[in-house]
């Protein structure tokens, strides 16, 4: 088969025609680099989304009033009341691990001459057990007695401690805030950190993130438009969500569509689905550019065969067989497109890394994709190189030698 000799020959031919070889490879380079860049960006995005959701826990869900259904006006009794929450907990003792009203508030605060904005998130007992990425640096998390005693306590992030108190350990300090138009002094009982999340970096929220016992954020009547839940993670989240929803609508004597469930798991599935579809669509466009690249290779190989007709004649006169000539040209086109594939892979990874570095995301490059891309480009080279190579191989030696 003379594979080794033919590889050397092909490399010499490519080297002696650098510009042309490069232009020929361009189609493949563009095709492969876009495939690699897009799949890598897609995979990285999926990875980030996955991490983001994992931070909240895959068994996290919200149940809230469906705004569309409430357009004709909502009645006070439609809101989710403490007794509804209790009923849910009693009805699903195993499947609901955590259920509290979903309440949050923002407030300016001042410590001496230092100012800042706090974003207060209402939590119940054991919240940190479910949202696993919270690390307490000093003090403690909001606990049962804080929640049940409706105490004015707050757990703040490290950044807030450093910026407002000029020290990391701010436990025991006091923060003045406004909740539901009422001034309150909250005692810092803990300082925490969470790994930076994509959403934070993307929205650049300037408010410090803090946790408070949820009752202190509630209005007097304790009514809620939404609840946050952590569920039995062994079970299908969508099915569980539907059970909760129908139970709640039954006790509230409402249409089941009156309440909505937003489960982390199904949201993630939806996002991944969109990302997947996007990857496929753009991947298909990239595949078309690969085909165009392949046609470019075929074109240049046909030119090359014509240019080298005399050489082919000489080789045949010296005893080259049809198969030898076929292999020579086939290997050349495979090598051209494989080199294009390698350059395209490097370029694609570079594009993906640069693009992702703006979003401060680590690129995920699937080695399978690289093997597939380079392999596929070689196949493109083989497929589109076959016709020119056969044309070369079938040349009549006398006619080829006579060619000028």
């Amino acid at each position: 088969m003379l594979v080794f000799e033919n590889i050397l020959l092909a490399l010499t031919a490519i080297k002696s025609n650098k510009m042309r070889s490069f232009l020929t490879m361009l189609g493949i380079i563009i095709g492969i680099s876009s495939v690699i860049a897009i799949t890598s960006i897609g995979d990285s995005a999926k990875g980030v989304v996955g991490k983001e959701f994992e931070a909240y826990g895959m068994n996290n869900m919200y149940m809230y009033l469906n705004w569309e259904m409430t357009q004709d006006g909502i009645e006070y009794s439609d809101l989710i009341m403490p007794e509804d929450i209790e009923a849910l907990q009693t009805r699903f003792p195993e499947d609901i691990k955590y259920i509290v009203p979903y309440v949050s508030a923002e407030s300016e605060t001042k410590v001496g001459r230092l100012e800042g904005k706090l974003s207060m998130y209402g939590v119940g007992t054991n919240y940190a057990k479910f949202k696993k990425n919270i690390t307490i640096l000093h003090g403690r998390m909001i606990n049962k007695s804080d929640v049940e005693g409706n105490k004015d306590r707050i757990v703040i992030e490290k950044k807030a401690a450093l910026n407002l108190f000029n020290k990391e350990n701010a436990v025991g300090e006091t923060l003045g805030v406004v909740i539901n138009n009422e001034m309150k002094d909250l005692i810092v009982v803990g300082v925490f950190v969470v790994p930076p999340s994509l959403f934070d970096t993307m929205f650049m929220s300037e408010a410090y993130s803090t946790y408070v016992p949820y009752p202190i954020l509630q209005t007097g009547d304790k009514s809620n438009w939404a609840v946050e839940l952590y569920t039995n993670e062994e079970k299908d989240q969508e099915l569980l969500g539907n059970e909760f929803k129908s139970y709640l609508s039954r006790i509230k004597d409402k249409d089941p569509n009156f309440y909505v469930i937003e489960a982390a798991e199904s949201q993630m599935a939806t996002i991944n689905n969109i990302l997947g579809t996007l990857s496929i669509a753009i991947g298909a466009i990239a595949a078309i550019s690969l085909v165009v690249g392949g046609i470019g290779i075929m074109n240049i190989m046909l030119v090359s065969v014509t240019e080298r007709t005399r050489e082919i004649g000489i080789r045949k006169s010296l005893g080259a067989r049809t198969k030898d000539i076929l292999m020579q040209f086939l290997i050349e086109s495979v090598i051209i497109s494989a080199i294009g594939g390698v350059i395209g892979t490097i370029l694609g990874i570079t594009i993906a890394s640069v693009g992702m570095s703006f979003a401060k995301i680590d690129v995920i490059v699937d080695p399978k994709v690289i093997i597939l891309a380079v392999g596929f480009s070689a196949v493109v080279g083989m497929f589109f190189g076959l016709y020119p190579a056969r044309k070369a191989a079938k040349l009549d030696p006398i006619e080829a030698l006579r060619y000028e």
């Binding site: 002696s16 050489e311 080789r315 005893g319 080259a320 030698l401």
Partner: protein, 234 residues
């Protein structure tokens, strides 16, 4: 005779160019023996190259028979003809036909590449062949860095790579000055003395004088076939 190497029987070659048909060889009967040194002469267009191409298995006859070492080439497949060109025949052209952008050494190695000879042996032998034609110091030169006479010597070295017994040269001195022509002819003489059958096409009488048999063509026929010397006497 037992040592006949080439025999043609009423061999014709017709080039079919679609509209007109050119009968380049019109019933050739010819026998060539091992060790002969033959010159083929004749006017332009008389069919000399056509005959050489058929002898060299680059082309097939239209009618009649060509026996190479007693085997009718009609019986041979294209791959077998490739093997014949590779092993049994060394072909030298007027225009040298070296592969450009490929060193003299690599050019000489080519027939051995197609003969599946290993890289080391190939290189060693190619250097030896270049030495035999006085070009050991030009091994790494590209064809465009060589003179006409040097190119033709590289071509001869290449033709001899697989030790063929038949050497065919179609106007080997056609592009060379008289000094280089004589040098080339001396190489052919040496090859003939070593027992090879050498057939050359030439237009020049003094080149033909080197050989021991002169065959003259006109219009696709052999019109004269004279033995001038004893075989191997050059």
């Amino acid at each position: 005779m037992t040592d006949e190497i080439i025999r043609m029987e009423t061999l014709t070659k017709i080039y079919d160019t679609g509209e007109i048909q050119v009968e380049a060889l019109k019933g050739i009967d010819l026998t060539i023996h091992k060790g002969e040194f033959i010159a083929i002469m004749g006017a332009s267009g008389s069919g000399k190259s056509t005959l050489m191409n058929i002898i060299g298995c680059l082309d097939r006859p239209t009618e009649g028979h060509y026996y190479l070492e007693n085997i009718d080439v009609k019986e041979k497949s294209d791959n077998e003809l490739s093997a014949v060109r590779n092993k049994q025949i060394g072909f030298i052209f007027q225009s040298f036909n070296l592969i450009s952008r490929t060193s003299a050494l690599k050019n000489v190695e080519l027939p051995m590449v197609y003969g599946r000879i290993g890289a080391e042996e190939r290189k060693e032998r190619a250097l030896e062949l270049l030495k035999n034609v006085g070009l050991e110091d030009r091994a790494q030169h590209m064809p465009n860095e060589l003179s006409g006479g040097q190119k033709q010597r590289v071509a001869i070295a290449r033709a001899l790579a697989n030790k063929p017994h038949i050497i065919l040269a179609d106007e080997p001195t056609g592009n060379l000055d008289s000094q280089s022509s004589v040098e080339i002819m001396e190489i052919f003489c040496r090859l003939n003395r070593e027992g090879n059958t050498v057939i050359i096409v030439t237009h020049e009488r003094d080149i033909a004088e080197f050989t021991n048999r002169i065959i003259t063509f006109r219009d696709g026929h052999i019109i004269k076939d004279e033995v001038t010397k004893e075989a191997g006497a050059c």
